[in-house]
Symmetry: C2
Subunit: 315 residues, 2 copies
C-alpha cells in the first residue's frame, strides 16, 4: 500500500479530535536556546491527556469507525502509552476499550489502563498470543482493532500536534520528533508538508533501535537488530502504512547514543522543569548532537510523552 | 512599621516587572481535580526565569532603586532562589549583582548564581558574617541591599504572579501559596484583595517550620522552633514588613507533615509531569489534607519554583 492522505483529511482530523485532546502548551527556554544556539519551541505532549501524543491518534481512529461498529468498542494490544491512550479516548468518546496486555507487564501500567477505564485481558507475552487474544475479543465483542502506529487514521491524529505547533509559532525551519513505530513521524511530516511546506521534518532515533534510519537509507522497511534502549517507546518498527509517508516527506533521521538520550533528558528536567519519558529526549539529543546544522534556526520539538517512573530516573 | 501599599502600587509593579519576567502558564489536570474533588489551577512559577517566582520581586525591587544608585548595583545574601533571581534580574536590567553566599553553600548553587551573572563573595555561614560582608560590599561599591522577603517592593513584585493568575482564570474561590519568609504570601494576599476581593487567600506551611502559623495565631512574629523540613525554601521567618499584610489579608495557614509534602510532590511529577521543588508541593499538600473544606471550589495554586536536584528526589 502507499496511501498519502490529502490536505483536507489532515485538517478534518484536527476538527475531529479537538474536543477530546488538550491543546498542549508550547514552552521555550532561554537557557536551552543558548545551549543549542538556536530557537527551540517545545510542544509539550507530555502534558497531553493520558500523558502522551498517542491520545490524538487513538481519538481520531476511534471516531473514524462507523457509529454502529464504534459502539461495540475498540481493541488493541499494547503495554505502553497507546494502551492508556485508547482507554482514555474510548472513555472520552463513550465506547468500551479492550486492552490486551502481556502477563509480565508492570502492574503500575495495568493499573493505569484500568484507571482510564480500559478492560484489560492478560495473555502470554509473545506477539502471537497478543494477536490471537485480540482476534478473540474482536470476534466475541464486535470491537474494532486499532493499531498503535501503522494506521492512516492514527497517523492523521498524531499529526495534529504539529498542526497546533505551527499554528502557534507560525514560522519554523525544522520540526523534529522521535521515531519508533512511525505514527508520530509520519503524521508530523504529512501535516507539516501541507501547512508549512518549507519546514524540514526530521527525526531522532536511538542507535540501539535504528530501524527507521536504516529503512530510509535502504528504501525498504528494515527490522531492528537490537532494541536495547532506555527509550522504551521507540523499540517498535515502521510498517507499510507509515513508511511510504516517511519516505516521501521526511528529510533526515539522526541517531543518538544512550548517554546522549540521558543527558538530553536531564537537561529537560533541570532547565525546562518538566517530566518527560526517555523517548521525548531523543529529539533534543539529536539537535544537540548536530548543533552546527541547526544554528540560529527556529526548531519545533515534539516532546512525545511524560509516562516514566519518576522514582527510577536514569540520573 | 505597618505599610499597606495601595491598589495603584500593585498594578504599577506589574507594569514595571512585565518586560523582565515570563508570563508563566496556568496548567490544569483532570486527574488531580478528581483527587482533590475541586478545580485546581496551577500557576507554574517553576517555569519562571531563574526557576522561581523570586525573579518578580527581585526585578521590582531593583527597578525601584533611583537610577543613579541602581547603576552601582545591588547586593543580597542568600544561598537559595533569591540569589539566582537577583543575579538574573540585575543582568536583565543591566546593573551589577553582588551575592554573598556562605562558604558551605553547595557548589552547584554557587555555579548557578555565577551562570546568571552574579558576582559571588563567599563568607562564613553565620548571619553576622553574611550581614557584615554585605555591608562591606555596600560601602565599597555603592550597591543597594535588597532583602529576599521583608521589603515592600519585593512583596509587590511577588504579588504579580497572582495578578496574572486572576487575569487568566477570572474567578477563583481560593488562592494558596507556600509560606516561608512571607514575601510571596504577603504579595499574593495584597494583589488578590484588590483585584478579587471575595477570593480567600491561604497558605501551606511545613509543621517543621511553622512560624507563620503560630504568628497568625498569636498576633506577633514568632520564631521557628525547628527548620527540619525538606522544603528548604520555607525555613525562613516572617518579619515586620510582610507580617502586617499577612495579618490583615490572609485567611488561614494550614500545616503539613514531611510525608504529606513528599506525597504531593510526587503527584505533581507523576500527574502534572512537572518538576517542582519541595516548597511548591506544600500548597497542594495543604489542599489535599483538607479536601472537605475545598470541595468543588476553584482553587489557584502558586507553584513557587522548580530548583531542585533532580538526581536526589525524595521518592
Amino acid at each position: 500500500v502507499s496511501i498519502i492522505p490529502a490536505k483536507d483529511e489532515v485538517l478534518l482530523a484536527y476538527k475531529r479530535v479537538e474536543p477530546h485532546v488538550h491543546k498542549t502548551p508550547v514552552l521555550t527556554s532561554t537557557l536551552l536556546n543558548e545551549i543549542a544556539e538556536a530557537q527551540l519551541f517545545f510542544k509539550c505532549e507530555n502534558f497531553q491527556r493520558g500523558g502522551s501524543f498517542k491520545m490524538r491518534g487513538a481519538a481520531n481512529a476511534i471516531l473514524q469507525i462507523p457509529e454502529s461498529d464504534r459502539n461495540k468498542g475498540v481493541v488493541t494490544h499494547s503495554s505502553g502509552n497507546f494502551a492508556q491512550a485508547v482507554s482514555l479516548a474510548a472513555k472520552s468518546i463513550g465506547v468500551p476499550a479492550y486492552i490486551v496486555m502481556p502477563k509480565n507487564a508492570p502492574q503500575v501500567k495495568v493499573e493505569a489502563v484500568k484507571g482510564y477505564g480500559g478492560q484489560v485481558t492478560l495473555c502470554e507475552s509473545t506477539l502471537e498470543a497478543r494477536e490471537k487474544t485480540s482476534k478473540q475479543i474482536e470476534q466475541t465483542t464486535g470491537a474494532t482493532f486499532v493499531h498503535p502506529s501503522n494506521d492512516i487514521d492514527v497517523i492523521l491524529g498524531q499529526g495534529t500536534a504539529s498542526l497546533e505547533l505551527i499554528n502557534e509559532v507560525k514560522t519554523l525551519n525544522t520540526i523534529i520528533t522521535p521515531v519508533g513505530g512511525g505514527g508520530l513521524l509520519a503524521g508530523t511530516a504529512l501535516a507539516t508538508s501541507y501547512t508549512l511546506p518549507n519546514c524540514r521534518v526530521i527525526a531522532g532515533e536511538p542507535i540501539e533501535a535504528n530501524d527507521a534510519y536504516r529503512s530510509l537509507q535502504s528504501g525498504n522497511i528494515e527490522a531492528n537488530t537490537t532494541t536495547n534502549t532506555i527509550a522504551d517507546g521507540l523499540r517498535t518498527t515502521l510498517d507499510n502504512y507509515n513508511f511510504p509517508i516517511i519516505k516521501e516527506f521526511v528529510n533526515e533521521i539522526i541517531c543518538v547514543t544512550e548517554q546522549e538520550i540521558i543527558n538530553a533528558m536531564k537537561l529537560l528536567y533541570e532547565r525546562m522543569k518538566i517530566v518527560v519519558e526517555p523517548s521525548s529526549a531523543v529529539a533534543l539529543a539529536a539537535i544537540l548532537k548536530n548543533k552546527q546544522h541547526f544554528q540560529n534556526q527556529k526548531i519545533g520539538i515534539i516532546l512525545s510523552g511524560g509516562n516514566v517512573d519518576v522514582s527510577k530516573l536514569p540520573f
